[in-house]
Chain length 244, copies 2
DNA sequence: ATTTGTGAACATCTTCACAGCA
DNA sequence: TGCTGTGAAGATGTTCACAAAT
C-alpha cells in the first residue's frame, strides 16, 4: 500500500523557485560549519524576509525547532529530496552550438546530478561530432541512440528549430524542458517548460537602464528578478553575517 | 522646459517582463505583413489572456483603436522606445570563459543593440586574449581601457569572483547587471540586477520532473515560468493562427 | 458590430503579529 | 526567553464584465 509517496508535494511556483536558493545557502552554511540557522539569518543571506522563509519551510512540514531555529542538515536533506537532488537526472540537449558546449561543460551541470545521455542537432556538419563524450545524433536517429528515457530536455537550437526540438524531446519522454531559444514553444500541458532568454533579459535590463534613477525596491527576487531591499550576501568568505 | 521625458514611465515588474515578448511577437507579425492585431490574437500568440494584454498596453497609454485593434507599427515603436531598443547599449562583460564567448557570439546580443565595449577577467592566461575584437583587460586596468561609461554589466565569472565583478562593474558606472554566476551579489539598490542561473533552473525542473503527473496549469509565464494554459505559438511559418 | 480601456471582483503572494512550543 | 508556525491583514497581480469609442 503506497498511499502517499512523499516526493509528490505540490508547492506554489514562487516557492519552488526559491528552494534552490535556500539549498545553495544551506550548502554554504554546512561548509562553514554552522549546524543550525534561524529564519532571520537565512532571510538575510537570501535577501528575503524572515516571515517568507518560515512560510516557505512550513509548507514542507514542520522543519524547525521553536526557540532554536532550523537544523541545517535536516532542512537541506529535505530540500534535496523535494528537489530531487542527487537523483542523476538523464538529460538530452537539442542544438549543439557554443551555448550547448558552454552549458554541459559547466560545473553546475555535471556537478549536480545532471547526466547528459544524448545530443541532437539538425546540421550535417554537427551530426557525428562529439559533445562531452557523446556522439551527436540527428533528429531521425536520436530515439534509437538512447538507452534510457530522458527526464529533462534542454533546447539550445536557433528559434526556427525550437519547435522540432520540443516535439522530438517530448516524444522521447521528457517531463520538463529548459528552453534557451528565443521563441515560444508549444508543448503538452503536463510538461513543465521554463524559458531562459538572453535577449529578453537584456531588454528588461535596458528598460531599467533607461529609467530615471529611483529605487527598484518594489521589485522581487526570482530567477529573473530585480535586486531586493537592503544589503546582500557577503560573497567573500566572511561567515554568515555576524549579527552584533 | 523638459517636464516629463517619456522614457521614464514606471511599470510593474511583471509587465516589464512581458514587454520583450510582445515586442518579439509584433516583430514577427510585421515580417508576416500584418498591420493590425487584436488583443485576442496577441494573447493567443503570447500564451496569455486577452485581458492581460489589454491591461498591459493600457499602462503605456492609449495604444489601440476600439473596434479594430492595435496598429502593429505604432505599438512596436512604442515598445521599442520604452525598452530602449535601438539605443546601442554599451556592455561590459566580466569573466571570459565559454559562456561569455557563447553569449557575445549570439545573434541576440550584437543583433539587438548591445555593444560590447569591454571585457575583464582575473586569470593571467585570459587577460590579453581577444573577445569579439576586444582585448580582455584585468580588474586593475579595465577602468582605463574604456572610452565610455557602460550601461549594462554581464557577470559570467565563477561564483567566487562574482562580487569582485559586481563591485568593479558598479564602479565603472553600470545601471544594471545580468548575473550568470550562481551566487547572490550585493549591489547598491539603485542598480537593477537580474539573475540567470542554470543550476537553479535545472533544479526547479527536477522538482517538476519528480512531480507525479498532473496539470501545471497553476503556473505563470515569465522569464522563467512554467508553460501556461492551452496551445501555443505555431513556430513554423503558418501565419498568425487563422481563427476559423 | 467589434474591440479597446477600465473599475470591480477575484486570486495569489507577502507580511504582520502573535499563539504555541522548546 | 527565543524562535517557529500560522491565521489574518495587506499588497500585488490577473481576470471579469461592461461601458465607451469607432
Amino acid at each position: 500500500m503506497p498511499p502517499k509517496k512523499n516526493g509528490d508535494l505540490s508547492l506554489p511556483e514562487p516557492v519552488v523557485e526559491r528552494l534552490p536558493l535556500y539549498q545553495r545557502i544551506l550548502t554554504q552554511l554546512i561548509r562553514q560549519g554552522s549546524s543550525t540557522v534561524s529564519s532571520e539569518q537565512l532571510a538575510e543571506l537570501a535577501g528575503l524576509s524572515a516571515a517568507m522563509v518560515r512560510k516557505d519551510f512550513s509548507l514542507l512540514g514542520p522543519m524547525g525547532t521553536r526557540g532554536s531555529g532550523y537544523e541545517v542538515d535536516y532542512l537541506l536533506s529535505h530540500l534535496d529530496r523535494i528537489l530531487g537532488t542527487g537523483k542523476s537526472w538523464p538529460v538530452v540537449i537539442a542544438g549543439v552550438g557554443r551555448l550547448a558546449r558552454a552549458l554541459v561543460g559547466n560545473r553546475n551541470f555535471s556537478g549536480r546530478g545532471f547526466r547528459l545521455i544524448g545530443a541532437v542537432d539538425s546540421k550535417v556538419n554537427v551530426i557525428g561530432t562529439e559533445l562531452a563524450g557523446l556522439t551527436v545524433a540527428s533528429y531521425e536517429t536520436i530515439a534509437d541512440s538512447l538507452a534510457e528515457v530522458p527526464s529533462i530536455g534542454v533546447i539550445t537550437t536557433p528559434p526556427e528549430t525550437a519547435q522540432l526540438a520540443t516535439d522530438t524531446l517530448v516524444a522521447l519522454g521528457v517531463r520538463s524542458l529548459l528552453n534557451f531559444a528565443p521563441s515560444i514553444i508549444e508543448a503538452p500541458k503536463e510538461i513543465a517548460v521554463r524559458y531562459v532568454d538572453l535577449s529578453m533579459e537584456l531588454q528588461i535590463l535596458s528598460y531599467y537602464a533607461s529609467q530615471p534613477e529611483g529605487d527598484l525596491t518594489t521589485a522581487r527576487l526570482g530567477t529573473g528578478g530585480i535586486q531586493p531591499l537592503r544589503d546582500r550576501w557577503p560573497a567573500s568568505a566572511k561567515g554568515p553575517t555576524p549579527t552584533p
